[in-house]
Symmetry: D2
Subunit: 295 residues, 4 copies
């Protein structure tokens, strides 16, 4: 893989229409985003309702995304499943369908058994079997499992483990992951409200739900940071925080999709048991309006 | 469905051999258990490593189980998936393959969005679409989502929602579920260390991992209780507690399978990332030995 | 101490008037309760707002309680403080003021350091220094610290450690505490919604907030249980559950005091930052009314 | 109060000798630290084992500290107790004994009742009654109670509420507290592993346990940050992280005191149930050695 692991990457929302995949809407979004400074796309991430898709649907989404994506954008595929076997299978399939790298969620159902040893063995096996680089994916608020910095550091020694997305929101942990891992290990933050401080402590970029809605502001935040413009980057962080909170912990994927619609993208519907929080539409519109002067 | 919802039901372990399904071992276990006082079988439950199986493998397991199971035993299938759509699909397929009823795990990945309203709508849709009765399945230690008694009570009013398996281990909650739900709603406890107190407060039976290992002792505990033999039932509870703890929170599914082997059943292997805790074999053997006089 | 450790004991509420102790109200309550089947009183427990009292006030409350209490009732004093030294000091003072035994809350502020070793050493030192028997007090929902059954069992071997109040509400844990501890170790449950199942698994009694409001119903529940009247005991459990939930997790100590007032006892005011939830008065009255036929 | 609220402040450890206060050791430490760039001292904080002190001992510690402290250093006193009344009493006494401001821990024992309303009323009452400015103190890992940004923002409007120490370690929350509170509200971070990112998002300083051990490095980190030396500040952050982790979550107050001894300060003993983790002395020495080149 020659594309650099850095910058802003949206965990791409998967549009539905009457409970069916709406791949045209997905492709339309990607084609619009191809014109932005986004570094790439995460297909089949948490915000892509990946866990609501059948095996065949996952392949259809990957194939459709591959078709619409500009060739210079990084194609990251979410391939983590509960078993090592399923994870390897989906990782290989994603590679065949054009993905550049895989983001591998921690297995989590049997929390009590997901010891450091079990997690380490799982990731080693996936890394060995994968035809493309993998990144670890840590999101304890969804999984109840946390990848500790020392474990991440050990895994970072593997040639085919290229980085991590840490969505814990814990900047102390992120600092330690970066400090303890091998130089060059690509650490992405997965929580928009701490994007700027994550960059300060050495993150290479962000995989951020809100980048589905205001990609240019997320990209601009990182540009400002890299140009040494700390005050501007902090101001941008503070500006996007209310919207970022709404489309994640506040309203979830349904809120994210409504905000995409309001911004002119095609969020589409969610799958049940998720709902579109229609009552929150005015609040989302209001927060977006506050950001217009920056757009 | 004419079979009563009561008694002891093992969440049947799914044996593997070199990462592949070992359906012959599964069938051998069922044929042995057909001779016991078990009321039925839960196929594709948490202890069946259901989340490690592909869609095709789930069907193969259900079909193999149907073949081996005595016709008077209750055939309960675990069909809960993250989306309503997947859940309905698997529930219908399980019915076609011979299941008598379905046990439907709470969706849980998007915890923050799994409000009472979302969960209620999900279960109503599944109950409407299911050709057979469904039972709710609450296991907060795995899912991070809890079904509150008031919500269970509302759902118990639906004709096609026949009961619940509550694995929280919380007897206060179980008491309230029973008190608030409609008469006749079948409440199973899913945690062996509180089987006897659960019966005391009105549970109709237990869906218990340790019933894969010592089915006759679990059955005897409930028989003693129903005969008014409280001291004997409590003594049995205390006797099985150490083994029950080991094969669940202590060692997980791997420990359960080793214990099954030690007892003469065919536990088989687990799928990665789970492991067989071979080092614990002597401890499991010791606890089983203590139970021999009761067998 | 010749008084038996068993039966129903209220963690006595401490009445206030304009933020000052109202010891006359306290004594009036005790004198009324002296006529009931309560086994004794816990003075300075969690429901006594002990943590809101100065050192001098704690002594005043103990002295006033001693004066009003019938001589045959067990006088249990809550003496647990964060340091071993403070705990020993208050335990000795309580003994001088007439207490029969002490209930010693787990230290909890430095949670990460409250290892099994630290807790064991703490309790050993307090037991050595105490002129009267002590009981352990486990209430993880307040403290964030849990006394595991194996630790309790080790401590039960000490001559001067007579029992435990476990308020975790976890009946599986209670069963294990009883199974693993020395015979004769007095295990009280501290959570009214599981009083009946706790008795079933071997608890000797309950230290129950709701016994400040409906002492006779709690006493009757245990009497029914001991007479072998399981159905009656369960019915009583179900009857008191709504009120018991309101005066603890629902509305806290403020709700407890309002319910005492409604019942004709003198609950008095709470200290800030607690509040009397006056808006809940009708709901409390309604639940009490439902219990009138049993009183 | 004319002293600025900013910079590095150690939560001063309270030395003990054979379980008794060792006030000479306390004063010796303060006199040494008077020569450093520390902005002031927090007396009776969590790391001062405040919860282990009697009322009289708290006054003795405050008086001894007042005597030894250089007049230009900020004298902050930890005065939070469970009740509003106790908190006001100790705050007034601390002011009489020379404190410049008070740090007021959230009440937490009755967690379920510590609603936003109850906490707001508590802090308003304390602020009204206090003769000196107060700061809020949020440390959810000890208390189980969290002060949400919106509540902090409302409280920041009070003239006598000057700031907050947030020890949650949550930089997203810190960013929001700063964004939502009134300009000039002094936000200190209370977790050393996130000192640098906290400064980046607008914190005015840090109240840091590790500043008892390496005050000059903490002061230098903030100086570098303020001089625009981001790379140097980050390097310092990474350098102090291992020691900072050991003397807090790793080994607690006992570890902090051992490290103070190793550095040539007088840590002294802890009070039971805390212990000095003597076995960790080599590890602490090793981490300190790594920092020598920076000292």
């Amino acid at each position: 893989m020659n594309k650099p692991l850095r910058g802003v990457i949206p965990p791409v929302a998967t549009p539905f229409k009457d409970e069916e995949l709406d791949l045209k809407a997905l492709q339309a979004n990607l084609r619009t985003w191809n014109q932005t400074g986004l570094s790439g796309y995460l297909i089949l991430g948490s915000n892509g309702e990946s866990c609501y898709l059948s095996e065949a649907e996952k392949e259809a989404v990957l194939a459709a995304a591959a078709e619409a994506m500009a060739p210079d954008k990084l194609f990251m595929a979410g391939t983590g499943c509960e078993s090592t076997r399923q994870t390897i299978g989906l990782t290989r399939r994603a590679s065949e369908l054009g993905a550049d790298c895989a983001l591998v969620l921690t297995p989590a159902y049997y929390k009590g058994q997901m010891t450091n040893e079990a997690l380490e063995a799982h990731y080693q096996k996936v890394a060995e079997a994968s035809p493309m680089p993998i990144l670890l994916y840590n999101v304890p608020q969804f999984t109840g499992v946390n990848l500790a910095p020392a474990l991440v550091a050990r895994l970072s020694a593997h040639d085919n483990i290229a980085g991590i997305k840490d969505s814990s929101g814990n900047i102390g942990q992120l600092t330690e992951i970066i400090r303890q891992s091998r130089p060059g290990f690509a650490v992405f933050v997965g929580s928009a409200p701490v994007f700027y401080p994550a960059l300060c402590v050495g993150a290479v970029g962000g995989i951020l739900a809100v980048a589905n809605v205001v990609p240019e502001l997320c990209v601009e935040l990182q540009r400002l940071y890299q140009a040494g413009g700390h005050p501007g980057a902090l101001a941008m962080q503070r500006a996007i925080n209310p919207l970022a909170a709404l489309v994640t912990t506040g309203l979830g994927v349904g809120g994210l999709k409504l905000a995409m619609d309001l911004r002119g993208f095609q969020g589409g519907q969610v799958r049940s048991p998720l709902c579109l929080p229609q009552a929150a539409r005015p609040q989302l519109a209001q927060e977006l309006d506050k950001l217009r002067p920056l757009l």
